[in-house]
Symmetry: C2
Subunit: 316 residues, 2 copies
Amino acid sequence: MRSGIDVECREVGLRDGLQIQETFFTTVGKIKWLTLEVEAGMPEVEACSFVPPKLLPQFADAIEVVAAALKTKGSIISALAPNLRGAKDAFASGIHKLNYVTSVSESHNMANVRRTVDESVEDFRKIVELRNATPGAENIILAAGLSTALGCTIEGQVSEDAVMRLAARFVEAGADELMVADTVGYANPQQVKGMFRKVIEEFEPAIPIGAHFHDTRGLGLANAFAALEAGCRRFDASLAGLGGCPFAPNATGNIVMDDLVFLMEGAGMKTGVDLDKLVAIREIIAQNLPNETLSGMYAKAGAPKGFTPASSIAAE
Amino acid sequence: MRSGIDVECREVGLRDGLQIQETFFTTVGKIKWLTLEVEAGMPEVEACSFVPPKLLPQFADAIEVVAAALKTKGSIISALAPNLRGAKDAFASGIHKLNYVTSVSESHNMANVRRTVDESVEDFRKIVELRNATPGAENIILAAGLSTALGCTIEGQVSEDAVMRLAARFVEAGADELMVADTVGYANPQQVKGMFRKVIEEFEPAIPIGAHFHDTRGLGLANAFAALEAGCRRFDASLAGLGGCPFAPNATGNIVMDDLVFLMEGAGMKTGVDLDKLVAIREIIAQNLPNETLSGMYAKAGAPKGFTPASSIAAE
């Protein structure tokens, strides 16, 4: 984690937020969004997904966006790749970190990436091998995401054991990080606390654990707080709450980045992010997606009187 | 607390939700709302505020609404009274419980009820005396609410010490219950946890502690979870998140009752409330306030597949 911060908020809006957007978010707009967010102090930005443009035209400009992102300073630039082919392109782009996602529940994985969980793990193993064999790629961080880890729209409840088993398989295969995701917005904070305690106890500090919540049923930030209490220090979120999952009906939106940073900063956890600058960037989303309703309560209500973000307090 | 439940959710929408509504919510609509909510298992309903109809025409039907509420079975029927005069009317109406509210911050109390905090405490003392001296009123529960306990739009931060001192004064004056309120939606879950631990340790079990959160900056349900973790078992909320405070700009809405019940039931805490029946009652609000945007994510997204509310699990 970047020095001087207590908790890492990670912008995933440019990937998770845009992947089901039918409106093409201009390349200039994407670059402006991520550049300003890096300048606001965001420690990590997921810039795009490396998928065939035929499948997701939204990411047809992936190489250009990543190239621009890599010109900014101070943030980890990541991208998603759903398979070996995408990983190859991602490595060539020069990203710092690759995110790979597999659903814990078989049927959701099949619906999402048309592979069994076994095949997904094997594919990840090949991505690790490719990374290790590609000159210049050796330092790229490989993060394995466990989707539907807190519930599945097809299978319902997902057991902690299934999550722990798949996590262990990814670590064995060479994952540098794990990300536990409530892909479909099913999680309850009590459940989150138990799950994250277990995963963190088992894998940290060797393998950092990230959290990925959606606010589908209103509990997204309660879940983030529960994960924080369980020791989690890495959180995905999306500016203005953009996002969703094509296979999760009504799963509208990642947790809102601006509200998450407000939560963390108020809880005394330095994010390194300037809230005022962050909120101002919402305007770029509004301009590029004029028909999208932007989420976020902090942006609407403003800071409490006398609010002092943890990041604004000088270190001893 | 009613036997068989672990946590008490209290409907305050008919009072806090309606007090700044300019549209008159029909008496028939109010009675239908509260009657159906009692039937859905709601253990406590705040039916109205006893204030001069000239000031708040919304509550001109207070006596009629309370009379209808008292015909339902199984729930505590409460009402707010801002002063001795209102308390007298409230006692005469036959309610089970009286809620009285004072801001911890002087200037907010002055703006809200035009009295110093000292005067408010003295007024409460007279309400206790009146209750004790009124035949048939002896069993009416007197709850003292501490507004702006987690921050104030006029004074900014409010200290824990100030909250503890005012709480002690109300208990000394004869309060049967206390309610700690984030009236203006300033609270952070970390702060909530510390505050509720302190208040609960000091006053429970002799004096039950309730929590009252607004979702102004998106942290309402995170705050509710934090209070739950601190041991709080009584939560105010408003169906569809109706509400606000006339002196708190943009303080739009109590936490959403339906989402709160979903949180609690998913956390294994029995509320006694039937979520399906609860969600159906939103329609009455929609009919009576056609121009109001109803909040609530659970109602929009529905139950997670395989979701088992704690209250649906038979006791051993």
